[in-house]
């Protein structure tokens, strides 16, 4: 078996490199650059029950070693994702992790039930942590009981394993992680973006039309590593880590912290080939570090 092969609930991954939700659309654009079948999996853009336009523009702003986004969950809606995007993706030999979002519990349940039936959707990623939508998102991601309850409801209807995506904007990330584990989550993905803001020097007003946005990119990596480190020691379900990954070295750092696979977001914008490049570099890095299999790295910081 390949040195990069990873088995997770519902997911048999050729390698642990997954483009992060919202940073890879539904795969069409990056399929111009390389064969999507080489990826471990793909986390598609958040899908909601109805189509959403999202927030007004500007929706992105640059920060030091990072960026803010306030897309606002723009997506074509459940029906179109199921009837067009997922079938298009099925031409590739790559499992899909469907990112599920909503405003009310019922929205999540509806999307989860339907989208989990798609043959190439091998897992769900419950987005309870989007900082850019007014209702729903943030409460689901910051109150343990609410998150647990939502996880439970979604688990009841999903035909595939459910990963819950945690927000870093909380006082106690371990408490949140344990709550979703208690709710029956099969895995955790973390971290979503940190809430941040930038102001225009000339006007004094926020650069983003939504005012605040989610901070991603290398700037947030130390926060993500710390949270993966804390959570991985406290739960018994696997973690897909993310936040600022842009190199094979970063991937190993997330594994050391406690991740079993990783997602790459913002770095795709900087270098559209970042995922295939990391996949290619990992075996040589494992050699250098003296590991046979990448899974040996998981949790090394505390084991």
């Amino acid at each position: 078996m390949s040195r990069l092969h990873v088995e997770l609930p519902g997911l048999s991954l050729k390698n642990p490199i997954i483009p992060a939700s919202g940073c890879f659309g539904f795969g069409r654009e990056y399929s111009q650059f390389y064969d999507l079948s080489i990826l471990g999996a793909i986390m598609i853009k958040a899908t909601t029950a109805e189509p959403r336009f999202g927030n007004p523009t500007p929706r992105v702003a640059e920060t030091s070693a990072g960026m803010l986004n306030a897309i606002g969950l723009q997506n074509p809606g459940l029906e179109k994702v199921v009837s067009e995007e997922l079938p298009w993706l099925s031409q590739y030999d790559v499992p899909i992790i469907a990112n599920v979002a909503g405003s009310l519990e019922e929205d999540y349940v509806k999307v989860a039930r339907e989208i989990s039936k798609a043959p190439n959707v091998h897992a769900l990623e419950l987005n309870i942590s989007c900082p850019n939508v007014k209702t729903g998102g943030i409460a689901f991601g910051t109150i343990p009981e609410v998150a647990m309850q939502l996880t439970r409801r979604v688990k009841e209807v999903s035909e595939v394993p459910v990963y819950v995506k945690l927000s870093p904007n909380v006082t106690n990330i371990v408490e949140m992680a344990k709550a979703v584990e208690d709710g029956g989550a099969d895995g955790i993905t973390m971290i979503n973006t940190l809430v941040g803001m930038r102001l225009n020097l000339k006007t004094g007003k926020p650069i983003l039309a939504n005012r605040t946005g989610g901070l991603s990119g290398p700037a947030v990596k130390p926060v993500a590593i710390r949270m993966v480190y804390e959570v991985s020691q406290a739960v018994n379900i696997p973690i897909i880590g993310m936040g600022g990954i842009e190199s094979a070295e970063d991937v190993i750092e997330f594994f050391y912290a406690g991740a079993s696979a990783v997602a790459v977001g913002t770095a795709n914008f900087v270098n559209p080939f970042v995922c295939p490049e990391i996949i290619e570099q990992l075996p040589e890095l494992l050699n250098q570090l003296g590991f046979e299999h990448i899974s040996e790295c998981t949790g090394r910081s505390w084991k």
Binding site: R28, G54, T57, N268, F269
Partner: protein
């Protein structure tokens, strides 16, 4: 095809106050399909700045395998770009997006090209191609002040050219629209600040018109939904166009600007 190419800088010149003309050697010229497409430049090698910068292709030469951009030194990215010298390399993603459809102007017709400030550059290649095809071009170029004027000579060689400056320090005092009202033309191609595009769209709604939009970008290739605009036929709904991959050039009346 979109390429990610390491391109060598051939020349970099200051052509007006804070305005630079940058030419690079690039195989991607073979994939340019229309004037008005753009590229996404990684200015630094490291994390500072992190994101690429979108810059229009202002002219290109397939035989020489090179293309030229004109940009204003403004924030962090363009300031760093301005410090690069010939021989250095740039990581460029392109060509991106859809440009100005030259086939919408027929031989013998007159096309009005309206550029505002840093929107002027992509019109240069357009003017060249339209003229080559046999379309007459009239160029109306708006700038803030005399110090910011560039390429007047180049445009003049291709057609009647008017310059307006906001402060009246050069050419006509006022906006491009002040110049246009006295002109005759069959269709309009424009690139520049949003208020200018909006004014054109309102005042010449009966004309065939193509507008190049600007929006802050993440990916530049259509994946991140940063650069969307709403469609006119569904203003409240969920349908949209992406400036980076559906645009930057749209037919007037297609999207809300």
């Amino acid at each position: 095809m979109i390429r990610k190419e390491i391109c060598k800088i051939i020349s970099q010149k200051l052509i007006a106050e804070n305005i630079y003309e940058l030419t690079v050697k690039a195989e991607m010229v073979h994939d340019i399909t229309e004037p008005g497409q753009f590229v996404h430049i990684r200015v630094g090698n490291g994390l500072d700045p992190l994101l690429r910068r979108p810059i229009s292709i202002s002219s290109y030469d397939v035989t020489e395998e090179q293309f030229t951009m004109i940009y204003r030194k403004d924030g962090k990215g363009t300031s760093q770009l301005a410090s690069r010298v010939p021989g250095m390399e740039l990581d460029i993603l392109g060509p991106l997006g859809n440009g100005f459809p030259i086939n919408e102007a027929s031989i013998g017709e007159t096309a009005l090209l309206v550029g505002g400030g840093i929107g002027v550059p992509p019109l240069y290649e357009l003017a060249k191609q339209l003229t080559a095809k046999g379309v007459k071009v009239i160029n109306v170029l708006g700038f803030q002040a005399e110090s910011a004027v560039f390429y007047e000579q180049e445009f003049s060689e291709l057609g009647e050219t008017y310059v307006a400056t906001a402060d009246g320090s050069y050419g006509v005092k006022g906006f491009v629209t002040d110049v246009i009202k006295d002109l005759q033309f069959d269709c309009v191609y424009s690139c520049g600040p949003t208020p200018m595009l909006r004014a054109l769209e309102q005042q010449y709604s009966h004309k065939k018109m193509f507008l190049s939009l600007e929006e802050r970008m993440g990916c530049g290739v259509g994946a991140c939904f940063a650069c969307v605009c709403k469609k006119v036929d569904d203003p409240s709904g969920a349908s949209y166009k992406k400036v980076c991959s559906d645009g930057p050039v749209f037919r007037a009346g297609e999207v809300i600007i």
